[in-house]
């Protein structure tokens, strides 16, 4: 069996919220007991409504957050308790592409500096001071790789379009030849036409560079296009995971089904066949007991209110956390 690039076991992340002038301090359960594996060369799609904790999970996977509980192994190393400083040598191998290409690029630095930053920090490619020339060469390579022009280097981020900015972000992430890239909604802030370009770029890069992606998105169509496997999150937990086509064609969890149903089907018609969601997403400040989805679930029964369904570990590529799945899995 090939070892996974990244393995998460029981990852939990909570935040303490002090509730403004009039509020009480409370705990926000952003990610609850998530376990998953990411294999080399694959693209794991992470979908769910906004606020379901997928971004937090993405950041936890790269240890940009400290974990409340759980373990993360990157290339066999347990990184879940490492300090930020100790993580630094590992950073080149795991990178992130951000959702907001406006916010993730420091407006006061030139593009050339932004892309060269990781190279300079990690003294790559050769680790020596004389590396400025090499850095420059590498920056130019990266620029070409993501489809930008050389005269862009001296400019500032605000002079670029959203798509171009995302390319800068990608170039920066690629600078250190990472094994793994967590892309957090990389295209959701872009126009649809530009989205396709960026997705294609990412797929091309994966092919040429042998990258592994965790691709976070709320847009199911994009995930379906790029992901080899897909995990569906609801209220901080993964409720279904499996090969993308299986998840999309035969959803096992009522929530997945509802999610898919909400998407206007490219061929039309099919949408009405599945049940729509009732009610609102519960607050992560006070998640429901038992199955977190039960207040909205069309097939919920008494058991769902009390007992929390779990993903069956090692039960195969297809797992679902539901007492009454729509499909047989495993």
């Amino acid at each position: 069996m090939i070892s996974p690039v990244l393995e998460a076991i029981g990852v939990t992340k909570t935040f303490d919220v002090t509730g403004g002038v009039l509020g009480r301090p409370r705990t926000l359960h952003a990610v609850t007991n998530v376990s998953l594996r990411v294999m080399r060369g694959e693209t794991l799609g992470l979908v769910g409504e906004s606020g379901c904790g997928k971004s937090t999970l993405g950041r936890c996977l790269l240890r940009l957050h400290t974990l409340t509980d759980g373990t993360i192994r990157f290339a066999g190393t347990d990184i879940s308790r490492l300090s930020m400083r100790a993580l630094r040598p590992l950073r080149p191998r795991m990178q992130m592409v951000f959702q907001d290409p406006y916010g993730s690029l420091n407006p006061r630095r030139r593009v050339g500096d932004l892309i060269a930053e990781p190279l300079r920090v990690h003294r790559l490619p050769s680790g020596a001071r004389r590396a400025e020339a090499e850095t420059s060469a590498r920056v130019h390579d990266l620029l070409r790789l993501v489809g930008l022009k050389e005269d862009h280097l001296a400019r500032y981020p605000h002079e670029f379009s959203g798509g171009q900015r995302q390319r800068i972000g990608i170039a920066r992430a690629l600078a250190l030849n990472p094994d793994l890239i967590v892309a957090d909604e990389p295209v959701s802030a872009l126009d649809v036409s530009v989205q396709a370009q960026v997705v294609n770029l990412l797929m091309d890069l994966q092919e040429t560079l042998g990258l592994t992606y965790v691709f976070i998105a709320h847009d199911l169509a994009v995930v379906r296009q790029i992901a080899t496997r897909t995990a569906v999150m609801y209220l901080g937990a993964i409720i279904e995971i499996g090969p993308t086509e299986q998840v999309f064609c035969t959803p096992a969890h009522p929530y997945t089904a509802a999610l898919l149903a909400a998407v206007p089907h490219p061929h039309g018609g099919a949408a009405g066949a599945r049940p729509m969601l009732r009610g609102e997403v519960a607050s992560p400040l006070s998640p429901p007991s038992g199955c977190a989805f039960h207040p909205r679930c069309p097939s919920a029964e008494a058991r769902c209110r009390v007992e929390r369904p779990m993903l069956a570990p090692d039960s195969g590529p297809r797992q679902v956390a539901c007492h009454f799945p729509l499909q047989e899995t495993g």
């Binding site: 919220v17 002090t18 509730g19 002038v21 009039l22 509020g23």
Partner: protein
Amino acid sequence: MIRLLAQRLGQMAFVMFGISVLVFLIFFATPGADPAARIAGRNATPQVLAAVRHDFGFDRPIPVQYALMMKRLFITQDLTSFVNRGEQVIPEIVAGTPVTLSLVLGAAVLWVAGGLAIGITAALTRGTFTDRALMVAGLIGVSMPVFWVGEMANLITQSRLHDTWLFFWVPPLGYTPLTENPFLWLKSMLIPWLTLALLYMGLYGRVLRASLIEAYQEDFIRTARAKGLSETRILLRHALRTSLITCVSLFGLDFGVLVGGGALLTEVVFDLQGVGKLTFDALQNLDLPVIMATVMYASFFVVAANAAVDVAYALLDPRVSTRSV
């Protein structure tokens, strides 16, 4: 609400404690300020000095002296001056408060009225000469040292033009209690009010203008316009109401500081025996108990005004309570 109040009280207590320690430390080690020597007189023998020092507890460890002073200030409330022996500090502050209040209240009325007039006029005539002139005038007001304005006012009204029809009515400097002679009170306070108000008038005018202009760009104003409401009505009913929130909070803070003795320079220049003047004299005398008490008093008003503004904000502006989640 109770939680909020408790939390606020805790914060106030902490800040005031911090300030008291700061003041105590600042003034404790000043050479030449040995209160015992000043109390004992100019050719006291060491023996007498020691007796006085012991009497006043100056031979105790510093933290004990601090604690004693705090106890006499807050618990027994019989703290007395080191310089004017027997002068009880708290009654002095109580006596100074009406003077300071007279000054600040009167000035506040003037500066709020003036600020409103300037701000509204400027916002309505935005971009015209009037607007620009008002803003420059306001800025000049902000840019003048208040003590200098006071000096100049005194020069004109007390000396140069005192014997003309313009300022013959200005009484000599000093404060006359309202209860004693209301007319004289008014006459003697008018120039100090104007002086103090001059500083704030421009400031408030500018702030109000800015927030009025901002408000005019909001959607609800456009809606109101679309509904065909008159400009005056839009101004008074809609724009002004939202803009005033900023001004109200500003006002709370300024008022708190001034009542707490922030009008020190104005009081000094006009010989008004208010809390600020009391503080200033105590500072000149290095009279630690009085300094301690007045500074505590001042910081109380600052912190209290601050808390009041926060609470008012929370009540007036519902966004605040959800903002920081």
